[in-house]
């Protein structure tokens, strides 16, 4: 009991010592001393004791504090008696078969990682878990919270052990409301029965119940009950049957249909435009919104005078109909647009912010224009001006009809009155400590002479606060005051920064690692104890840990986030991903791939069908190192492939290094001439030098054998010899494209240098260079010119000439991503007897593309020109366009064509139609099976000048 009158007995006495009970305090001694502020030798002031208690409690580390005093000679001993608090460091819920999954159960506890653990929170968490379990059919579950503590770091580990008991099954729902005539259909709509009820009812899950209710809603909406209200009143559990009866209240509401008059609108479009369907409500606001949407819809299609009205009609049997009466009016074309009065920004800068588009020949035949589009355009232009200091910018717009004396042609005029530009006259920044002044000043864009705008200051605020947050000042704030300057159109700016106290990393509290190596984790955390608590580094560390691919969940939290202590524990709580992952796939390929049986009639390829199956298995986080071992296999009648790889991402803890070991078996017939069997082992060290530049150093050792050779092995025996190739290679990739999937600007360079040598136990010695340069240029708005050139050269470093290089190592080209005038891998030299491609030792390909929008925003077109070929040697490279004879393949083949691109989230779907201007002709012997017919009959064939290609992604 505080002696109300007696505390004054200690006031003013000299402090002999300051003590803590218990002695071990959760705050480091130096910080504790600073917080308390009462030092031996000073005089005791009760107001300071009060302040010390307030500050100690504000650290968040204590649940209770009292201060005692006792006289010691002529002085006083002050004792702070404290009770600590506990912070949630792990939340786990075990023992429940999915669904619900562990994450959903943890979320259901509503406990927050790093926050104080309170008794009432724990009780609420148990209740919430119980409800979650019941919602998933576990009505006999028992929740047993167990807490373990780590007194040193005040961590509380909360583990909920669940005995779920049996999962209940659904049963016939009890429906209340006037639904008798729909009862059986409503029950069927839920899909809660298993195989229509033949196998009873499905097990209960929250998702199943929710989906069932949604399906009832959709069923009733199809019956025009657009205002129906479906409510799950209760889940009645019957323990003996272990079954749940959902008690569902259904208020059908009136039947409401929606239709249009005056213009036809498809049902699906009507459902899209009239929110009555989505919101399951026919209140007036939604009906009016539907009217506006319909108006905008027609106006966007050129019916700029379109008007829509609505009325509600009562029909028979208590039905209601919402009838939209549409008066489309004439269809107009926005034929022109003028923007005047713009001095500060040029027309292009303004147009980039506008959706309004005058009519074009193909893409926007009527133009894109409506009142709302114009309004949003003017708002966007206003924002542009205001953010550059033109606070008083004004707009007027007008439409000229019968533009150029043509009926229904419109011309839109936009007049801009820019008004004066307001600039910053004086700027003063206060509250920034000396150590940050230089940085902060450099980050502020609203400096004297610069345009003044609220949005500019808001950007400054975000930049400055980011700077502080990333330096541990988590409570920093930024305000500003603006006053008109003595000069016209100028303002004086006062920026007020309140830095707050910086916070630092005290230490890491890492949990949840079962097999993962702690060192591996620590190497990826971009923070050290004692460093500022940087938000950016916390996020980056989390990203690096996720990038390892071995954690399903990486939760990061600051322990005691609201506590005003300087050093903060940073909690990293992990959930390791499943060790094994499997994938299984089936597919098929239809292309000029041959029939899969020996066939000498079509050396240039013929359409074929190849079913395909694939299987993969991965074991991640091997021995807790974060490394992954995987097997990927593919089986089809043109390819059998198995790849075993060992991936060490962020090798040695460095983001920029990736190490891969791989072993490959591949037997493929993707080149029609032969079946290549490859057995290969390789090691590759990839390094990202900069954001755009990557280098890959690789050593590969492979054994190539050939079977199913379609060319005369007696003529070219070296091809059939088994060949062992040891090759060291380096690839440099420089990627400055804006979007790798669908590039519109930037450039992309690669150069691949390889050397196969006896020094690497290779049976063949050759050098290989393959370089590619692509660039992308914006021509006008959405029109892009893209070009790419690829040059390759194989040089045999032993006797025997280029022909001595084994067939699978040679260049093959032609197809959707190289030269579209050829089928896949059909370019270059050919066997003179069978006509099959032989590959070459030099390669040149040049691609030019003009990419442009075609229909709306999703469909684009491409005009292209591909030129090049595979040549028999470097010296044989030629730009000659004419084939000298049927044995001459060393000339440049040209193809032009048109492509269609359909934009999808995974890249454009591509169809290209190419016309080969000078495709090669060649001859081959007619055969009867494998045997040439006697007397010899030569058949002349030409690569079909018309080629089509279908694939995903741009050509380059």
């Amino acid at each position: 009991m505080l002696a109300h009158g007696a505390t004054g007995d200690f006031e003013g006495l000299p402090v002999v010592s300051v003590q803590f009970d218990p002695r071990d305090q959760p705050i480091p001694a130096a910080e504790l001393e600073s917080i308390v502020g009462i030092r031996p030798g000073g005089l005791l002031r009760l107001i300071e004791v009060r302040g010390a208690i307030e500050r100690l409690f504000a650290t968040g580390r204590y649940s209770n504090i009292s201060a005692d005093a006792t006289k010691d000679g002529s002085g006083v001993v002050v004792i702070f008696r404290t009770s600590g608090t506990w912070f949630v460091s792990r939340i786990s819920v075990d023992g429940v078969p999915e669904p619900p999954n562990a994450g959903q159960l943890v979320n259901a506890t509503k406990l927050i990682l790093g926050a104080e653990l309170r008794t009432e929170d724990l009780r609420a968490a148990s209740e919430s878990l119980q409800k979650k379990l019941e919602a998933n059919g576990y009505f006999e579950s028992r929740v047993d919270p167990r807490i373990t503590y780590d007194a040193r770091t005040e961590q509380a580990f909360v583990d909920f052990r669940i005995d779920p008991g049996p999962r209940a099954r659904m049963s016939v729902p009890a429906l209340s409301g006037a639904v008798e005539e729909h009862k059986s259909r409503v029950i069927n709509a839920t899909r809660w029965k298993r195989f229509g009820g033949f196998l009873g009812w499905k097990p209960v899950s929250e998702a199943r119940i929710s989906q069932g209710l949604d399906r009832i809603r959709r069923y009733l909406a199809r019956k025009d009950y657009l205002q129906s209200k479906i409510t799950l009143e209760n889940l009645q559990y019957f323990p003996t049957e272990q079954a749940v009866q959902p008690q569902i209240s259904i208020d059908l509401g009136p039947r409401i249909s929606v239709r249009t008059e005056g213009a036809k609108v498809s049902t699906s479009r009507l459902r899209q435009l009239v929110p009555v369907f989505q919101e399951q409500s026919a209140d007036r606001d939604l009906v009016v919104e539907g009217m506006r949407n319909l108006t905008e819809y027609f106006r966007a299609y050129g019916y700029f005078d379109a008007t829509v009205d609505f009325a509600t009609e009562a029909g028979p049997g208590g039905t209601n109909a919402i009838v939209y009466t549409i008066n489309r009016g004439d269809r107009f074309k926005l034929a022109g647009l003028s923007i005047q009065g713009n001095n500060y920004f040029n027309r292009q800068t303004i147009r980039e912010r506008m959706l309004t588009t005058p009519a074009t020949r193909i893409r926007y035949r009527q133009g894109r224009f409506s009142d709302s589009i114009l309004r949003s355009d003017l708002d966007a232009i206003r924002e542009l001006y205001v953010s550059n200091g033109f606070q008083e910018v004004r707009f007027t717009s007008g439409i000229d009809k019968n533009y150029k004396n043509k009926n229904n042609w419109l011309f839109l005029r936009i007049e801009i009155e820019e008004g004066p530009q307001t600039t910053v006259h004086k700027q003063e920044v206060s509250g920034v400590s000396i150590e940050h002044q230089e940085h902060v000043q450099a980050l502020i864009g609203s400096t004297p002479g610069q345009p003044y705008s609220e949005s500019g200051l808001a950007n400054d605020r975000d930049t400055i606060l980011d700077y502080y947050y990333n330096n541990g000042y988590l409570n920093a704030s930024f305000d500003w005051q603006v006053t008109p300057s003595a000069q016209p159109n100028q303002v004086d700016l006062r920026i007020l920064v309140n830095e707050g106290r910086p916070q630092f990393v005290r230490d890491f509290l890492i949990g949840g690692l079962e097999t993962s190596d702690l060192e591996m984790v620590l190497r990826r955390i971009r923070l050290q104890p004692g460093e500022p608590l940087s938000q950016a580094r916390i996020v980056e560390s989390q990203r690096r840990l996720y990038d390892l691919g071995v954690f399903a969940r990486v939760d990061v939290a600051v322990q005691n986030p609201d506590g005003l202590e300087t050093g903060k524990y940073l909690i990293y709580q992990f959930e390791e991903a499943r060790k094994y992952s499997l994938n299984l796939g089936f597919g098929a390929e239809i292309a000029r791939i041959g029939s899969g049986t020996p066939n000498f009639d079509a050396p240039a390829g013929e359409p074929g069908f190849s079913p395909r199956a694939s299987f993969g298995i991965s074991r991640s986080n091997l021995a807790g190192t974060g490394h992954t071992l995987s097997l990927q296999s593919r089986l089809s009648n043109i390819q059998q492939r198995a790849l075993v790889s060992y991936l060490a991402p962020q090798f040695k803890g460095r983001d920029d290094f990736t190490l891969i070991f791989s072993a490959l078996y591949d037997s493929s017939r993707d080149v029609r001439t032969f079946q290549a069997n490859r057995l290969e082992g390789s090691v590759q060290l990839g390094q990202r030098l900069t954001r755009a530049v990557t280098v890959q150093n690789r050593f590969a050792y492979r054994r190539n054998t050939i079977s199913g050779l379609r060319i005369e092995d007696s003529l070219i025996p070296v091809f059939t010899r088994p060949g062992r190739v040891g090759i060291i290679s380096t690839t440099l990739i420089q990627d400055h494209r804006d979007n790798p999937i669908d590039s519109r600007r930037g450039y992309y360079n690669t150069i691949d240098l390889g050397l196969a040598s006896k020094a690497f136990a290779s049976q063949t010695d050759y050098g290989r260079v393959l370089a590619r340069n692509s660039s992308y240029h914006r021509v006008w708005r959405d029109v892009t010119f893209a070009r790419s050139v690829a040059v390759g050269w194989l040089s045999n470093l032993r006797d025997g000439g280029p022909q001595a290089i084994p067939l699978p190592e040679r260049f093959f080209s032609g197809g959707a991503s190289t030269h579209r005038g050829f089928p896949d891998n059909q370019a270059g030299p050919r066997d003179l007897r069978t006509g099959f491609p032989l590959g070459g030792s030099a390669l040149v390909t040049n691609n030019l593309e003009l990419r442009f929008p075609l229909l709306g925003d999703s469909v684009g077109g491409v005009l292209f020109h591909d030129a090049g070929n595979v040549y028999s040697g470097l010296k044989e490279i030629s730009v000659r366009v004419k084939q000298r004879n049927v044995a001459d393949f060393d000339y440049m083949v040209h193809a032009v064509g048109l492509g269609i691109r359909y934009r999808t989230p995974v890249g454009p779907v591509r169809v290209d139609f190419a016309y080969g201007i000078n495709p090669p002709r060649f001859e081959f012997e007619r055969r009867d099976g494998f045997v040439p017919v006697v007397p010899q009959v030569l058949v002349s064939q030409r690569i079909n000048p018309f080629q089509f290609h279908f694939s995903l992604g741009q050509t380059f």
Binding site: H4, A6, F10, V18, A29, I47, I65, D72, I79
Partner: protein, 213 residues
């Protein structure tokens, strides 16, 4: 301080509690010492007998919780705190109006167990709270002509007739300013009460019973 941790804790015997937490509001606390001081200052200012019983302490703690809620709002809006100098005229007025001499004033302070610095501290806190309430709640409240008329008819006139039966009730034009001030103050009080109720509802308040025994 590290060395201090090695010193044996003073024997509990003979130790007196000089302060402790009475109420926790989020990560802020009101100590028992602060409650006692506030009771004493209130007694001094109101010239009421000193009442340090648990019920009085609890009532004062309730008021202090509301002050803390307001202070939290003030801090988040960076409301400026007045200097202690601004409390001096108030103290001078108290002395002038209530005490014949400086000695009487000092004796009264001693009777209530407070020093002048505690009085100043509390007056400054009251001042800043009043200013903040004015700023925070007044701008959104205006008094309409209809409200003035209703108040004049239903409250002002009956009260005047009851309290001053022999004098004529002023016409509404003469009473307008006074009524407007009354109604405005009522609205401010109401807005503040609603705000405090909402803030109180979302705040986590813990009482430490030992501080009120």
């Amino acid at each position: 301080m590290r060395l201090l941790a090695l010193i044996p804790i003073a024997a509990a015997a003979g130790a007196e509690t000089i302060d402790r937490i009475a109420v926790a509001l989020g990560n802020r606390v009101i100590t028992q010492g602060a409650v006692v001081e506030q009771v004493r200052v209130a007694g001094f200012l109101n010239r009421t007998p000193l009442a340090l019983d648990p019920a009085s302490m609890r009532r004062m703690a309730e008021r202090m919780i509301e002050q803390q809620l307001l202070r939290r709002e003030m801090e988040s809006s960076r409301f400026p705190t007045p200097s202690e100098d601004e409390a001096k005229p108030m103290i001078e007025k108290i002395k002038r109006d209530q005490y014949p001499s400086e000695a009487d004033y000092r004796a009264e302070l001693a009777k209530y167990g407070i020093g002048e610095e505690a009085l100043v501290r509390n007056l400054v806190a009251q001042l800043v709270t009043l200013r903040f309430v004015e700023l925070r709640f007044r701008p959104s409240n205006t008094v309409t002509e209809g409200e003035i008329e209703i108040y004049y008819r239903d409250t002002y006139t009956p009260r005047w007739e009851k309290t001053r039966p022999n004098s004529e009730v002023p016409v509404i034009e003469d009473a307008r300013d006074e009524i407007e001030q009354i109604l405005l103050q009522e609205k401010i009080d109401q807005a503040m009460s609603e705000w405090l109720k909402a803030a109180r509802g979302s705040a986590r308040v813990r009482y430490f019973d030992e501080a009120f025994r």
